[in-house]
Structure formats: C-alpha cells, structure tokens
Symmetry: C2
C-alpha cells in the first residue's frame, strides 16, 4: 500500500510578543516557504528524513525563528546552537550541541547520523567534524539579529530564567519574549517511514554551555516507524526531565494510546506537573498528526498529501 | 512504612580483558570501597541522591574504572568526561558532558541539578560553572593512566570503533579491551525515594566532542519514584537511540511490567536489535533490583539493608 505523505513543522512556542503578532504574516510566510521546501521533496517521492532536514534548514535560514540565523543570545551575548535528526525506519540519529560557527546545524546533525561513528557531538568536536565534512561555516555574527539583542536586554531587565526551574512561569504582559523557541519538523513519507528534526538557539540569556532538549534524543526529538515522529519546543529543562518525545512513543507502544491522546497525556501528566511550558508536533505511521501546547501559542504549519497546506499560531 | 534501603553499582560492561581477570580481586575491592561509602550514607538515613553520588565519586577516584581518574583516551589522546544524576522524587536532574578539568564530574552534575538553572551543561560552560561553585579542578593529566594509553594503542591497531554502529561487535580474543565502560549507581533510600547517577570517560578512541549515553537523561541515567532508577553502561550510541533507561521506566509505567522483565525486554527488544552491547542496573520502589547485560560481563555490586554486600563480574 502506498502511503500518502504528511509533513508538519513548528517554529517555536511560548508567549507571543506584540511585535510578533504584528509580524504575523511574515511568520506565516516563513513557515510556508519551509513547508513547501519539504513538500517538494515528498512530492517527488523523497524520504521523510530528507524532507524534515530541508524544512528545518529553511527555518534556520529565516531570521524570524530561533534557530540558525536569528538564534537567541546566551548570557555571554554569544550563540550556542543545538540540533538533531532521527530516522524512524532505522532508529539512526545524529545530534550536535553548543556550536556557533556552523551555518545549518541540522545539516551537521544529518552528517553525524550518516557518518555512523557517533550519535551526539558537542562544541569544538562538532565544528571540527562539520569542517571535515565540508559543511558551510560562518562567523558567529552571522546568527545575530537586532531583535534577539533587544530580547536579551528585556530578559535581563526582568531577570527571567534565573530561577525558572521548578516554578510555573508567570505571565508577562506586553513584553518582547523570545525566551524560548525552536524549530522542528516531522514527516511520514510515501514509503511509510517517519522522521523528525529539531534545531534551536536555545533560550535567551541561557547559561553558557547549556544544552537544551532539542539535541537530546528522546527529549526534543524522536522518531520510530512503529509509533510516531516527534519534535518539541519549550522550556528545554522540563522536556529533558520528562523525556518528552520518547514518553509519547512509549504511551503509544506500551499503553496502546493513539498519538493525540499520548501527546495530550505527556503534556498534562508529565510536562505540566514539572512546570514545563511549550508544545510538540507529531505524526504517526497512519498519517495522523498532533500539534499540542500548554503555552499561549505555537507557530505551526502542516500538510496532508493532496490537500492545501495550513498554518496556525494560537 | 519504613523502607529498607538498597544500593547497586556497576563498574562497566563489555569484554573483560585478561589483564582485568588477573586483577579481579582489585576490581572487587574497588567496588566494595565504593559500595560501602554509599551504604554509610544510607545507613544513617541519608538520601538516595547522596548515596549514588558518593558511590560514583568513589568509583571516579579509583583508577581501575573508566570514569574520573582512569578515564579512557579519545582520538586526540585527551579525556572527555560525562556524568549525570537524577532524583526520582522530584525528577530533577543534572548532567555535564565533554569536560577534562573537573576532578569529579558526578559532583558537578549534582551541582547542576541543585543549581536549578540548567539541566545539561557541556565543555567550557560546565567547567566555568564547576569553578564558580568551588568544585575541585585538576590538570587533564590527572585522569591519565598507563593502562588506558595501552588500550588506546590496541584499539587503534585493531581499528575498532571506526565503523562500529549498526554492526554487531566481533569477539576480540585476548586483547586488552576497555573500549567502553562506565560507572554508575542506583539506590532506594529509607524514605522510599529513588536516585541514579552515572559517570564515564566514554569509549576508547572516541571522536572528539562525542557525548555518550551516560549524561543523556533517559538514555544512560533515569530515576522516577513511580517506577525505577536506572544506570547503563555500554555502546553509548545504541543506548541513546534506544532511550534505554526511560524505555525500562515506560515498560513498567505504561506496560505494567515488573523491573526485571522490563529490563530484559529493553535489552532484547530495543538494544540488541540495534547492535548494542552493554548492561544496566536498576532498582524499583519496592527494593527489587535488576542487573542485566548482553556483554561477556558487567562489574557490579549490591546490597540489601541488613544483608551482606555482594559483587560479581560474569
């Protein structure tokens, strides 16, 4: 039986700032450019892995999203980027963390996966590997944008993030946020295979060296043909402690829950009780999709083969 | 109801080399020193977190085990250490990766957990945090031992590890091995709380920047009072792809399997099919323990409150 492809992406979750609401059309356009790039691959019979990597690469290149160009600043006013990809057919995975000279972290994560020697590389070792593989390297300033610098200053003024773990996040009316955000994509291809990819600049004003959930297989990124492909965005520490993406897989595999119920349970029973805030996107082997969040909004777009692409924020 | 404490440790799994068999008594003694340090804490009513951290700290300080002093060399003839700890009562966790100047990585993982700002720190950021917290820093040469240098040369001669993923590991008769190994501990304390800690030098001749499963919450380390505490050792890439530790938790929580069955299923159904080799230790909230491996041996020791400590290798 030939499957019909499905592709879902997210561009981050959290409080949506007034500036972002004004720029809603730009965000929707940015998501559609990325979605269409993935669709083009799936439409010609390409793999779910190729589709999610290309979709995420496009989101990395768009300055509106917190990944690649447009990544947030850490406490040192530097960037530290994380990314991962997982192939649901083989359970192969590749991830990198804490890099600031690789233009497209998701492409390096893919190279790590294909290289087959390691699954997870950090910092200088990841950049050396990317250089050896001929991936495009950039000056760290490439990632910086004026909006992210304003957000760093705003977060520091409000002293957010300094004590955030184990505390529910207070509402922040009318303030530029961008404290977290991540991009990701999940897909089912016509061959029936699933894949997930995630890329992020992390959280504004994050601790130097901090690794979030995006590159942690089973936390922010997971794919397994027997169940689902998942990509997360949110307060990464809680998603790591929750093993969020693998928790959805496990509720499906061992608890026989359908994808939507499994994702809802992971959010309400596993992430929210920890004080976590964010969202997840997923697709199962039958082409069902789920996009859920406990934050104010989550940038997302999706397509079922043969139907019009759609996008939503709230 | 007052619980009776339980403590289990491992000192790595894999092919046991002839040198190691000759030194069997030394290994057993090293494990007993560490186990007794943890017992002393539990005996006076201390927490599972305190017990597993102290047990692992002792194993880090013993040159026989691949963690802290005695860690293996990577491809650059340097050390890169990883460690993690997780508190089953609160699901708080701390982890560090790719450090080479922190004497006891597990103590820094504990500080990360207690600090509450991040869960996972890498490389320079982790070392800066350790320095700020007043943890003991050392010259990278502190970790080096002559045996590990011989093992690096042996691994390079045999060109092991270069293509190891997705391939079952061939037997290596009579060769010093030490390609992988990790130390870890899990405990149930008298208050009924679980904790897990893991620390490692990784795999001999590993790629620079490579992060293994030990510091990945849900892969090499996981604890949750509702199910179990788990620490793993083995070919880390496979354990990451398997989300091994969280998979055991999930089989218990969503599949209602007892600990021993869940661990056996994770090894046979999740790790072995990927080509993974290694083992796991675990304890559940009732004080049941499990210690299983698909490698030739796994250094391990355990104690039930009121009984004599025991140790085994094969």
């Amino acid at each position: 039986m030939k499957n019909q492809y499905v592709l879902v992406l997210h561009g981050g979750a959290g409080t949506i700032s007034p500036e972002e609401i004004e720029a809603e059309k730009a965000y929707r356009d940015g998501m559609m450019v990325a979605l269409n790039a993935g669709i083009a691959i799936l439409e010609r019979g390409g793999s779910a892995v190729d589709a999610v990597v290309e979709t995420v690469r496009q989101l990395e290149d768009c300055p509106l999203f917190n990944a690649g160009h447009g990544a947030v600043f850490n406490e040192d006013q530097r960037h530290e980027l994380d990314a991962a990809v997982m192939d649901g057919a083989t359970l192969r995975a590749g991830a990198i963390a804490s890099v600031d000279r690789i233009r497209n972290p998701v492409l390096t994560a893919r190279e790590v996966m294909d290289g087959g020697r390691s699954v997870f590389l950090s910092a200088d070792g990841a950049e050396r590997f990317a250089t050896e593989r001929g991936l495009e390297m950039v000056d760290p300033g490439y990632f910086s944008t004026p909006l992210r610098r304003l957000q760093l200053e705003a977060v520091r003024r409000h002293d957010l993030n300094s004590q955030m773990l184990d505390h529910a996040l207070a509402p922040r009316d009318g303030m530029p946020d961008g404290r977290f955000g991540t991009v990701g994509a999940v897909a089912l291809d016509r061959a029936g295979h699933l894949a997930a990819a995630t890329s992020t600049g992390g959280m504004t004003n994050k601790q130097a060296g901090r690794i979030g959930d995006a590159p942690v297989i089973g936390a922010g990124t997971y794919a397994n043909d027997s169940t689902c492909a998942i990509s997360a965005t949110g307060t990464g520490e809680h998603f790591i402690r929750a093993c969020a993406a693998h928790d959805i897989h496990a509720r499906m595999k061992y608890g026989n829950q359908p994808l939507g119920q499994a994702m809802a349970s992971t959010i309400s029973e596993t992430i929210t009780p920890l004080g976590g805030e964010g969202g997840l996107i997923g697709v199962d082997g039958h082409g069902n999709i789920a996009m859920q969040f406990n934050s104010v909004g989550m940038y997302r777009a999706w397509v079922y083969e043969g139907y019009q692409p759609e996008a939503a924020i709230f």
